[in-house]
Symmetry: C2
Subunit: 235 residues, 2 copies
C-alpha cells in the first residue's frame, strides 16, 4: 500500500489532488493507475484510504473512500528539547528513531557548550516525514527551529519539566517522577553537557533533574533513551 | 583522559607495551609524553590507570598504576539475536547504541526473508570497540558471526528466550515476563519479519512471543527497544 503525506487535505474532503511532484512520483515511479488504492496521512491524526480516479502525471486526482481521525492517537504528550549534535547525522538519526518510538514535539536548543550553533530544520523535517510514512503514523511530530537555551527557558510549557544532565547530585528516576498520561518536556544537553549555570537556571525554572541510568550516553542516545522511557512508562 | 583498548593485558600486569599502531597514535597523534596518564580497558571488566614510562613511537611502555576488575559489571546478561539489516549502516548504528545502553552478546541470524545474507563481523566489531571506549565500558560485547536461523535454533541458551515478531496473536510484555537480574535472549527478525514457520519453530524451541509496543519499528529500532526495555527493567 502506497502512502502519501498530505498535510493540506481537508478532513471531510471527497477528493484530493496530488501536487506535481507527487503526481509524477505516483505515475512515473510507482506506476499507479486509475483504480489503484493509496493511503494518505495528514500529520494531524487523519488517515485516509483513497483510489486514483485520474492518473494525470502532473495532477493525480484521488477519490477519498474512507477516513479515520485521531489514528493512533497517543495517550500522552512528549516534548524533547535537545542540543543539535556536532555531527548532524546523529541528530537526524535521533529524529527518525524518536518518530518511530513516539514523540510529539522536538525543540533544538543551542547551549553554552554547543559546538553546533545552527541546524536546518527543513531537511530535518523531511526526515521526520519519511519516518512517519515508514512507521505508519498519522501524527507528524513538530520540529521547532533552533533557539538559545535562554530563549527556550523563556517559553512556557504546560506539563512536567525535566533536565537530564551528567553532573553528580540528587536526581529522580522517570519511573518515579513521571505522571502517566500526562505532558512532559525533557531537556538533553550537548556533547560536554549543560553548564552548571544552565542547570541552575533550569532548576529555577521548575525543571527537575533526572537520571537516564548509569551508562555514559551520547547526546542523541540520551535523547532517545528519554523517549524510550516516557513511551514505555505510558504503555 | 585517553583510553586504550588492550584485550591482551594480563590482569596483574605491572607494565604494558602498546602495539606499533597504538604507539604511533599515542606519540604522533595524541602527542603523549613520558609521565602522561592514560586508561586501559581489557574488554573483560578490567579498567587500568597507567602512565607512559617510555614514549617510543613504535613501542610505548606503560606502567600500570592501578587496576579495577569487574568495572561497571552488569546485574544481568542480555543476548540480542538480530537479522542483519539490508542497509548495513542500520546494523552498525544498532551495535553502537546497544553497546552504549548495555548488551552482552549479539548474534546475527540470517532468516528466510533476510535480504542480506552476510555481514563482515571484523568491521562491526570495531564499531563496538569504539563504542565501549566512548561510553567508558570495561566489558566488550561479544559479536557472533552470522548463522542461519536453523543453526541458531540448534544453539543452547541458558536463560529466558523471547521472540519479537509482528504477527497478531497472544504476546507477553517484557515487564511481565522478564526475570530481573537474569539471563535473556531476544530474537529480532529482518525487514519483512520472521516467517510463520520460523515463529512456530522458535515457539517449539521454548521462545516466548513478546510485544515491543504498538509502534511499527524498523529492525534496528526493535532490537534497540528490546535492549532498552531489558536494561530499564534491570535498573
Amino acid at each position: 500500500m502506497h502512502l502519501f503525506y498530505t498535510p493540506d487535505i481537508a478532513p471531510n474532503a471527497e477528493a484530493y489532488f496530488l501536487n506535481e511532484e507527487e503526481s509524477k512520483h505516483a505515475i512515473r515511479v510507482l506506476r499507479l493507475n486509475v483504480g489503484d488504492e493509496v493511503s494518505l496521512i495528514d500529520g494531524k491524526g487523519g488517515f485516509y484510504n483513497a483510489a486514483i480516479s485520474d492518473a494525470h502525471p502532473k495532477r493525480v486526482i484521488l477519490k477519498i473512500q474512507s477516513a479515520v481521525y485521531e489514528y493512533g492517537k497517543r495517550n500522552h504528550y512528549l516534548h524533547i528539547a535537545v542540543a543539535p549534535t556536532k555531527n548532524i547525522e546523529r541528530l537526524e538519526w535521533f529524529l527518525e528513531k524518536a518518530t518511530e518510538i513516539g514523540v510529539d514535539e522536538v525543540s533544538l536548543i543551542i547551549c553554552q557548550r554547543s559546538e553546533r550553533k545552527e541546524a536546518k530544520t527543513d531537511r530535518l523535517d523531511k526526515i521526520i516525514t519519511s519516518a512517519i510514512k515508514q512507521s505508519l503514523k498519522a501524527y507528524h511530530p513538530v520540529l521547532n527551529a533552533p533557539v538559545t537555551f535562554a530563549q527556550f527557558m523563556a517559553k512556557p510549557f504546560d506539563g512536567q519539566k525535566f533536565i537530564a544532565h551528567c553532573i553528580e547530585g540528587e536526581k529522580l528516576e522517570l519511573r518515579d517522577a513521571l505522571t502517566v498520561n500526562g505532558r512532559s518536556l525533557i531537556m538533553i544537553g550537548p556533547e560536554g553537557d549543560f553548564s552548571e549555570k544552565e542547570i541552575a537556571t533550569a532548576l529555577e525554572n521548575d525543571f527537575k533533574a533526572i537520571t537516564l541510568g548509569n551508562s555514559r550516553l551520547r547526546t542523541e542516545t540520551a535523547a532517545l533513551e528519554a523517549c524510550f522511557e516516557v513511551n514505555f512508562l505510558n504503555r
